[in-house]
Structure formats: structure tokens, C-alpha cells
């Protein structure tokens, strides 16, 4: 198994997984909003819920994303 992962959309990770944020395929203002919420490229986030809606844990806060938004945020599994 290669340790190098290709970034995948957030929606492809199961709940409970820790991921490493790679890049956003979003418009500038949208990406800016995410970063202000603490969802920043390079940070690790914890996937809490991945279904109709998407919830993740950033530091100690919970951020909810519309599924379409989560699909455009790319991440790799975090190396623990």
C-alpha cells in the first residue's frame, strides 16, 4: 500500500475518521467562509456525521456543511 493518498471529497470518509484537509474546490467567498469557521487547508478534522448532511469537528467546535459543500472539500486520511 502506498502511503501517499490522493485527496478525496469529504463525503467519501466514514463517520469517526480523522482527515487532513487538502484543498477546496469552491468559490473564493465560500472557501473564505470555511476558513473563518476554522476549516482550513492543512488542518485535521474529525468526521462526525456523513449522510444527508455532513458534520465535522474542528478543534472543539462542530461545523455543519451542506452535502454539496462537503463534496467540494478534498482531504486525505490523517496519519496518526
Amino acid at each position: 500500500m502506498s502511503p501517499i493518498h490522493v485527496p478525496q471529497p469529504l463525503t467519501s470518509f466514514a463517520a469517526g475518521v480523522m482527515v487532513h484537509l487538502a484543498f477546496f474546490a469552491l468559490g473564493v467567498p465560500e472557501a473564505q467562509r470555511l476558513r473563518e469557521l476554522g476549516v482550513i487547508e492543512g488542518n485535521q478534522i474529525h468526521v462526525l456525521k456523513n449522510g444527508d448532511t455532513f458534520v465535522c469537528c474542528v478543534e472543539s467546535s462542530r461545523i455543519a456543511l451542506r452535502r454539496e459543500v462537503a463534496m467540494n472539500v478534498f482531504a486525505t486520511p490523517a496519519v496518526l
Binding site: 480523522m18 469552491l26 473564493v28 467567498p29 465560500e30 472557501a31 473564505q32 467562509r33 470555511l34 476558513r35 473563518e36 469557521l37 476554522g38 476549516v39 482550513i40 492543512g42 488542518n43 474529525h46 462526525l48 456525521k49 449522510g51 444527508d52 448532511t53 458534520v55 469537528c57 474542528v58 478543534e59 472543539s60 467546535s61 462542530r62 461545523i63 455543519a64 456543511l65 451542506r66 454539496e68 459543500v69
Partner: protein, 749 residues
């Protein structure tokens, strides 16, 4: 002289922080109950200020919760405008206290670094230290203070811990401005900054030297800020535009330069300062509650139950209070009439002023209850979940979850609903929400629905369960809501096409409601509503009174003859009394009762004649040809015009037109009069079909001066209120036309 100096030097301290960091709690502890809520000039964003007592009182300003100073929502724009001194009559604060959630440092400190760049003295208060400790975080406060170059204080405001030290720091007079910027932008952008700062300094020398950098940066990354300078420093604005174009041509992602730069400095800093003892991401209490409340099936179910409860409260619990207010208004009017001599001034006082004020105050119980429930949802953290649960459904009609609360509030009244829309970050979403909010059936439509449904629709039950009238009432609400969704879809598709809406929000931890805070917020908001809407409704009531009262017309010969004959009868009867002797008292009472009812009838006929020939009657007659195709005669047309002040005014207007005296929506007298009214050819004016046509007209038409006024304030132009009025009234006309003409064609008339 010395005295005024002290006064003008009242220290101004601004509180700023992310949403849900306990900023309001800090504000309350610092100021006690010495608070005041107003508005920032030109916008309806709440301006909360308070006094911190002491030898020298200090003014504390509570700024709206913001994630950053780069303006996205109206709230954030205000935060930046206040801190940068962009607002007229709002000098820059002397000190900024940044409230930071200790358990979420990196994101919270982002805002702090922006505030530092303003060059004002700054204190950082790390709030919710208890929660941070529970989460297993340990924070090196002195290291953080050293790195940021400003005082850092630990705080647990909810338990009053650390407040004394914070107050002490706020009182200090020797605080120096925040240190110079310690982070850098990507070099391609950084090299452009000094020249732009120089242009700004030349053209707008009033901007403090230390503030120039952040002004340049804001202008570079935000279009709103760029627009701001078009007026104040056009050369600077042009220069920034040139730099933007150049950076774009060189493929420099300049709009992201700020975020990258700030986080690039912050992330290692936070890593140094914060040590984690425990694994984060363990399921907290909030997560366990969320497992149920945001569950894909139970979540919406629970939300529906909450809605039902709020509706129940707003529509039935408020009724007894509203009845009391209504009867006191009528009682007050009566008392004034008996105390003061009859005449124009008394009429103005009773029919204009008192009933005008009454029209506003009568909504207060509903407004208070609605604000109480909204406050409860906000304070417990459930509000964010409701937006989250509804987002999926709302996104299908072109809106986001954030529009749920504004639209729900509009069931009580469109005004607080439209105001609630200002928390939406996406301006397009906000505008669409404002545009469709008045389609939700507000409480002012309720009395109109009640009167016409009770009078003209059959009683009976559907399937032996629900009354036909109840179903009709429900249909009115449903029609309004469905049309609001259709309208937002159309607006999204046609007016704002190509805009994808976006939903990302924080779900704050649940907490126990703090009733004292909810109570005061409810009072503050209701007060603001009464003052804002009250002025307009009050003014309109007086204008309408004038329109119905003038020009003064002599009663028709028939009515005049009635009065003369009544006077004669009265005189005869009084004369005959003198022969009675002992039975005098009983007989005179009998005559009194008889004549009073006769005179009431004549008074009412005179009032009816007067109003038919008044301006409003003339307007009704003029409009009749346009309104006839909908089934409305001149009286209804006049009623609809008068309903423009406030919808429920149509009932008192119809009562005057039908010469019935004081009535409520369930007045049997008015109902009977309406039913008995006929056209000259003998056809009834009101048929069930006319009633349905009128009901639908009221569901869809925008007959509310106050809504237009508030929409003007919130959108800052008359364009959107005009579009709103045209499309809603057009829709109302079209629907009523189709219903009435269709019904007639089918032979239901």
C-alpha cells in the same frame, strides 16, 4: 469647561468575538442592567451599549458576533465599521476587548489578529476556560500574551470568574496600542501594499496611520469595502482596482492572501501555546443530544412539534391578552368621548390617535411570545440545528436553512421576519428571503380570515373530523407558504440565476437557557419593533382617519328627515311625561332606552353616508371598475385601500361603511349586515365565492405600509420594496380574478 472635557473623554470600549463565545454574558456582567439598545444609523443592526460603573464610568459597546472583520453579513460589516470609525458620529473605540473561546483558539484568534491590525489597544479575554479544561486543553497564557503583545486574561464569565481582573484591565489608562503586524502576506501581494497605503494617506488623511494597512487589505479582498472608498477616496479605489487586475493577470490568488498569511502565523503559535492532554472528538453531551435532534427522521419530527407549540402559543395563548388590550382601547375611546365635548378634536383623538396606538399595541402579546420562543431557541443552541435540519428542504426551493427562522417569524409579523434575515451571510439569499417573507400569513391577516370564513363558508365537517372552516383557515396559511416557496424559486431562477447557495455553519454546544437574558432580549426587541412599526402604523391611522372624515358632507335629505322626525317624537314623549306624575321615573327611563337605539341607528346611517362621500369612499368608487372582476364592490374596495395601513383595519373600515359602530372580527352584527347587503338589482354583494376571492386577495397582497418601510431600510433602496409590492399585489389580483371569474363560469356565484 473641565467638566465637558471629562464627559467627551468617556472611554469607549468595544467587545468583539465569534458567535457563541459568551460575549453577551460578558457584556451583561460588565454593565449590569445599565444597557440600551438602539440602531446604527441607516441600518437596523442592533446597537447595544451599556455603562460600566466606577469612579470614571466607561461606555461598553457590544458588537455583533463575527467570525472575521472581512464583511460578509450586515452584522460583520457593522463590526468593522464601528472599529474603524467609518460611521458618522461613532468615533473609534479607545479599547477593544476580544472575547475568545478558549477551546477553539486558532479560529478565534484569526479575528483577534485582524483587530490587532487596527492599532487600537486590545485585551484578549479567553472565555470558557472551564470548558477548555474539561476538553483536556492546557493553555500557556503568558506565552500567548507575549506572542500577541497584548494582555491575555482567563475568564469563565458564566461563573463570574476573572471578571474583576478584566474590569481592572479595562480601567487601565496606560495600555499601549496593539503591536505592529507580525505576519506577512504572500510576497507578490506584500510588495503592493506600501504604495497603496501612501495613496490612501494622501487622499484620506483622516484614516489613522496604524489603520492604513488593514484598510488597504480589506479593500483588496472585499468588494463591499472597495465600493465604500469609491465615494471617500476615488483615486485610492481606482489604484486598488488596478493592483487587483495586475495580480489577477499574474494569477496571484490575492483574495486568499490574507487567510493564508494570518493562519500561517497563527497555526504554529497556537501549537506552541496549547497542549492537548486528551483526544479531541470524543462524543460530548451535545453530540449525544444531536444524535436525536438532528436525526434524519426524529429531527424534523421534533422541529415540527416545536413549531406547533410556537404556533399554539402565538395564536391562542396570546388571545386573552389581545382581547383585554382591544377592550381597553375601546373603553378608553368611550371614556374620552364622555369626558371631552363632541367634535373634530375628540374624533381625531379617539378614531385617529387612540385606535392608531391600539392597532400597534394589540400585536404586542404575539410579538412578545414569538420573540420569547425565538430567544429560547437561540439561547439553547437549537436555532442553529433548526437551520441545519431544514437546509435540505429549503435548498430545493432555492433558499438555505438560514431562511427558516426569518420565514417562520413572518407568520407572526413580516417585520421581525425581515429583520431576522440580516444574519444571512449570502446577500442573495438574504434578499430573496426578504422578498418572500411577506407572503407568509402574518397575524394581521388572521382577523380578516376569521370574519370572512365565519360569515360565508359553510360550517359542516370534512370526514367527520375537521371543520370545513378550520380547513379553510389552514388552506390560507398553506397557500401563503407555497406561494412564498414558488416566488423564491422564481427569483432564484430568473433574477439571481447561476448563484449556487452555500451552507456551512457552526453548531454551538447546547446549554441551559438563561431566562433573565432571554427575557431582556425579548423586551428590547419588542420595544424596537413597537417604536419602528408603531410610528408608521400610527401615522397611517391618522391619515386614514382624515381620508374617511373629509370632506365633511351634510347627511342626505332622507337621513336628515329621519333625525328631524326622531327629534319631534322625542319632544312629544318628553312633553307627555309631565302628565304622568308618580310613574315619571319609570316612563322616562323607557323613553331613554327607546330613543337611544333610534338615535344610534341614525348616527350610524349618518356616519355611513359621510364615509361614502369621503375621500376614501370616492377612492372606493373609483377603484370599483377595476375590482369588480374580482367580485368586490366599492365598499370592499375602500376597505382594501384602508387596509394598507394594517390589514385588520379593513374590519373597522367595513364596520363604519356598514354603519355598525365598534366591532370585533366575530361581531354577529357586522356579519349579518354583510350577508344582507345587495346590489341595486337585488343580487347579494357577498357570496361564498366573493369571500374566497377576498381571502385569497388578502393572502397574497402586500397591504402593509410597515413592511414596505422596513424592506426599504433593510435593502437600502426603494427598488426592492417596489418590486415586492408590485409582484405581490399583481399575484393577488391575478389569483382573485381567476378564482372569481372561474367560479362564476362554473355557476358557483
Amino acid at each position: 469647561m473641565a467638566k465637558t472635557d471629562v464627559h467627551s473623554k468617556l472611554k469607549r470600549v468595544a467587545l468583539i468575538g465569534n458567535p457563541n463565545v459568551g460575549k453577551t454574558t460578558v457584556f451583561n456582567v460588565l454593565t449590569g442592567m445599565r444597557q440600551k439598545v438602539g440602531n446604527y444609523p441607516g441600518v437596523t443592526v442592533e446597537k447595544k451599549t451599556g455603562r460600566m460603573d466606577g469612579e470614571v464610568p466607561i461606555e461598553i459597546i457590544d458588537l455583533p458576533g463575527s467570525y472575521s472583520l472581512s464583511p460578509k453579513s450586515l452584522d460583520e460589516r457593522i463590526a468593522y465599521d464601528v472599529l474603524s470609525g467609518h460611521l458618522a458620529n461613532e468615533p473609534r473605540p479607545d479599547l477593544v476587548v476580544c472575547i475568545v473561546d478558549a477551546s477553539n483558539m486558532e479560529r478565534n484568534l484569526y479575528l483577534v489578529t485582524q483587530v490587532l491590525d487596527l492599532g487600537i489597544p486590545v485585551i484578549v479575554a479567553l472565555n470558557m476556560m472551564d470548558a477548555a479544561e474539561e476538553a483536556g486543553l492546557s493553555i500557556d497564557l503568558s506565552l500567548l500574551s507575549e506572542k500577541l503583545g497584548v494582555p491575555v486574561l482567563p475568564l469563565t464569565a458564566s461563573r463570574n470568574e476573572g471578571i474583576g481582573k478584566l474590569k481592572y484591565q479595562i480601567r487601565r489608562t496606560d495600555l499601549s496600542p496593539a503591536p505592529e503586524r507580525m505576519w506577512t502576506l504572500m510576497s507578490a501581494v506584500e510588495v503592493e501594499i506600501p504604495a497603496l497605503m501612501q495613496v490612501l494617506a494622501d487622499e484620506a488623511p483622516k484614516v489613522p496611520e496604524r489603520q492604513r494597512f488593514i484598510e488597504v487589505l480589506q479593500c483588496l479582498t472585499s468588494d463591499t469595502m472597495l465600493d465604500y472608498w469609491t465615494r471617500w477616496a476615488p483615486k485610492f479605489q481606482k489604484e486598488v482596482q488596478l493592483v487587483r487586475d495586475r495580480l489577477l493577470a499574474n494569477k496571484v490568488p490575492y483574495q486568499q492572501a490574507e487567510v493564508i498569511g494570518r493562519y500561517g502565523w497563527l497555526s504554529p503559535l497556537v501549537a506552541q501555546v496549547v497542549t492537548r492532554k486528551k483526544n479531541i472528538g470524543d462524543a460530548s453531551v451535545s453530540d449525544r443530544i444531536d444524535a436525536v435532534l438532528t436525526h434524519r427522521i426524529f429531527g424534523p419530527l421534533f422541529f415540527a412539534m416545536i413549531l406547533l407549540l410556537i404556533f399554539q402559543a402565538v395564536f391562542s395563548w396570546a388571545t386573552p391578552l389581545m382581547d383585554i388590550i382591544e377592550s381597553s382601547v375601546i373603553g378608553l375611546g368611550g371614556a374620552i368621548r364622555t369626558t371631552f365635548p363632541a367634535g373634530m378634536a375628540t374624533d381625531l383623538l379617539v378614531d385617529g390617535v387612540v385606535s392608531g396606538v391600539g392597532n400597534v399595541v394589540v400585536f404586542l402579546p404575539q410579538i412578545l411570545l414569538l420573540f420569547f420562543f425565538l430567544g429560547l431557541m437561540e439561547d439553547t443552541g437549537y436555532m442553529a440545528r433548526s437551520a441545519f435540519i431544514m437546509d435540505r428542504i429549503m435548498s430545493r426551493v432555492g433558499l438555505g436553512g438560514g431562511s427558516v427562522v426569518p420565514l417562520l417569524s413572518s407568520f407572526a409579523c413580516a417585520i421581525p421576519g425581515i429583520m431576522a434575515a440580516r444574519t444571512l451571510a449570502n446577500p442573495k439569499d438574504r434578499l430573496i428571503t426578504i422578498m418572500v417573507a411577506p407572503l407568509m400569513s402574518c397575524s394581521a391577516r388572521l382577523p380578516v380570515y376569521t370574519l370572512f370564513i365565519a360569515a360565508f363558508l359553510p360550517t359542516g365537517k370534512v370526514l367527520g373530523l375537521i371543520t370545513f372552516q378550520g380547513l379553510a383557515m389552514f388552506s390560507m396559511y398553506l397557500l401563503g407558504t407555497v406561494m412564498a416557496f414558488v416566488a423564491s424559486l422564481v427569483l432564484k431562477r430568473i433574477v439571481f440565476k447561476g448563484e449556487s447557495s452555500f451552507f456551512a455553519m457552526e453548531l454551538p454546544p447546547y446549554r441551559m437557557p438563561r431566562f433573565k437574558q432571554i427575557f431582556w432580549r425579548m423586551i428590547d426587541r419588542s420595544k424596537a419593533f413597537v417604536i419602528r412599526a408603531g410610528k408608521i402604523i400610527f401615522g397611517m391611522s391618522i391619515i386614514l382617519w382624515g381620508l374617511a372624515r373629509f370632506p365633511i358632507t351634510d347627511p342626505s335629505p332622507e337621513i336628515a328627515a329621519l333625525r328631524i322626525s326622531a327629534d319631534q317624537v322625542f319632544e312629544q314623549k318628553v312633553d307627555s311625561l309631565s302628565t304622568l306624575g308618580v310613574a315619571y321615573a319609570a316612563a322616562s327611563e323607557q323613553i331613554g332606552i327607546e330613543m337611544a337605539s333610534k338615535y344610534r341607528h341614525i348616527d350610524a346611517a349618518e356616519a355611513g353616508f359621510q364615509i361614502e362621500h369621503s375621500f376614501i369612499g370616492k377612492i372606493g368608487h373609483t377603484l370599483e371598475p377595476v375590482m369588480r372582476p374580482l367580485g368586490f364592490d366599492w365598499k370592499l374596495s375602500a376597505g382594501i385601500v384602508s387596509a394598507f395601513a394594517a390589514r385588520e383595519v379593513i374590519i373597522s373600515a367595513l364596520a363604519t361603511l356598514y354603519s355598525v359602530g365598534d366591532v370585533g372580527d366575530d361581531s354577529p352584527l357586522l356579519r349579518e349586515k354583510l350577508k344582507a347587503d345587495t346590489y341595486p338589482n337585488g343580487d347579494p354583494v357577498y357570496t361564498p365565492l366573493v369571500a374566497v376571492s377576498l381571502l385569497v386577495f388578502f393572502v397574497l397582497a402586500l397591504q402593509c405600509m410597515s413592511t414596505l418601510a422596513i424592506a426599504k431600510r433593510e435593502t437600502n433602496s426603494w427598488k426592492w420594496p417596489a418590486v415586492m409590492w408590485l409582484y405581490m399585489t399583481g399575484l393577488a389580483y391575478l389569483f382573485s380574478l381567476v378564482i372569481y371569474q372561474g367560479g362564476m363560469a362554473l355557476g358557483w356565484g
